[in-house]
């Protein structure tokens, strides 16, 4: 049992402790802001990691920059603008709404609208088709109706 515990301890992933810097914040609100910002900003070198998660040197630099700016009292918009001015909109995990991102933001709603249109069109067509069948039945004369019922095996009209 003891060996088993020892063995398991060996496999504790040390990497999870990486990318933790020791920053001291002037207050809790600033700390919270730092965490939100580093969570929302993307590391330019990595394909899909935010500044918080990444171990790359550039991410460390940018964390440092964010730290300096939150400590200095810059607001979130200023910090984001600072990053976008240097690294482009790539660094924002939540892209802004503008001409190049309209499709991204509104595309899904467009698809839903198209879906609804198709759905309505199909169900309407089906309804019309059904009512046509009904009409056929009511337009039959007595003999025809009897024959139809014979074929269908229904005996109510007899």
């Amino acid at each position: 049992m003891r060996y088993l515990v020892a063995l398991m301890l060996v496999f504790i992933p040390l990497s999870v402790f990486a990318a933790i810097d020791t920053y001291e914040f002037k207050d809790e609100a600033t700390r919270a802001r730092f965490h939100t910002l580093t969570f929302e900003l993307r590391c330019p070198k990595c394909q899909n990691q935010n500044l918080q998660d990444s171990n790359s040197p550039i991410a460390a630099d940018l964390r440092n920059e964010v730290y300096k700016m939150v400590q200095a009292g810059n607001d979130d918009a200023e910090i984001k603008a600072f990053m976008v001015a240097r690294y482009g909109e790539f660094v924002l995990y939540k892209p802004p709404v503008n001409e190049t991102t309209y499709l991204l933001w509104y595309g899904p709603f467009g698809l839903v609208v198209i879906g609804i249109i198709v759905l309505v069109a199909v169900s309407r067509k089906r309804k019309r088709h059904e009512s046509e069948v009904d009409d056929l039945e009511t337009h039959l004369n007595k003999d025809e109706a009897d024959r139809l019922n014979d074929i269908l095996g229904k005996g109510e009209h007899k």
Binding site: P44, K45, Q47, P57, I58, D61, L62, E65, V84, A85, R86, Y87, G88, E89, F90
Partner: protein, 181 residues
């Protein structure tokens, strides 16, 4: 009409196929530079080989030039160094930004592999690199005579890349002459 509707899925399929096929050829690590067509950021940093001398963005103006961000810790920089020497030999101006590096090592490097740079900016803290949006050395910029960034290449400059850069530089030189006349 009915026939036509049957082809809609095929059309959608072809459309998506073309879109995704194009996506395969894109390099997701390449970011568009946020500083394209913008002037170089203001800075004041020492020269690499002459620590007494301060270099500012004004020193980069006056001539179409390549600005190459490099460091001795960067293996790809070694790979492109010979190409930079050839570029210098062709008569184009190359300015270096020595990014987060060690002065002594950089000095040795330039003696050993020859120095293609007109001068080098010693950016040991990476502050200029940060303002330029550098996210991985080597990076190479083309700036025009007014110090405006016209082109950015991330990664090694080889002969093929250089041909693109040279075209950009030649065009800038040409248009510079025209506007000067």
């Amino acid at each position: 009409m009915r026939r036509f509707i049957l082809f809609i899925p095929l059309v959608i399929f072809i459309g998506m196929g073309a879109f995704l096929w194009k996506g395969l050829a894109l390099d997701p690590t390449e970011l568009p530079s946020a500083l394209l067509d913008k002037p170089l950021p203001a800075f004041e940093l020492p020269s690499l080989l002459d620590p007494e001398r301060q270099v500012t963005e004004a020193d980069l103006k006056g001539e179409v030039a390549l600005v190459n961000v490099w460091a001795t810790w960067c293996p790809s920089c070694k790979e492109e160094h010979a190409q930079l020497n050839r570029i210098k030999a062709e008569g184009y101006k190359v300015i270096g930004i020595n990014y987060k590096d060690d002065r002594e090592k950089a000095d040795i490097w330039l003696k050993k592999y020859l120095n293609p740079y007109a001068f080098n900016i010693f950016d040991d803290k990476g502050s200029l690199g940060l303002d330029l949006g550098v996210y991985g050395a080597p990076e190479t910029y083309v700036i025009d005579a007014e110090g405006i960034i016209r082109y950015k290449h991330v990664g090694v400059v080889d002969q093929r890349v250089w041909e693109t850069l040279r075209t950009v530089m030649d065009q800038l030189k040409q248009s510079g002459k025209v506007s000067a006349e």
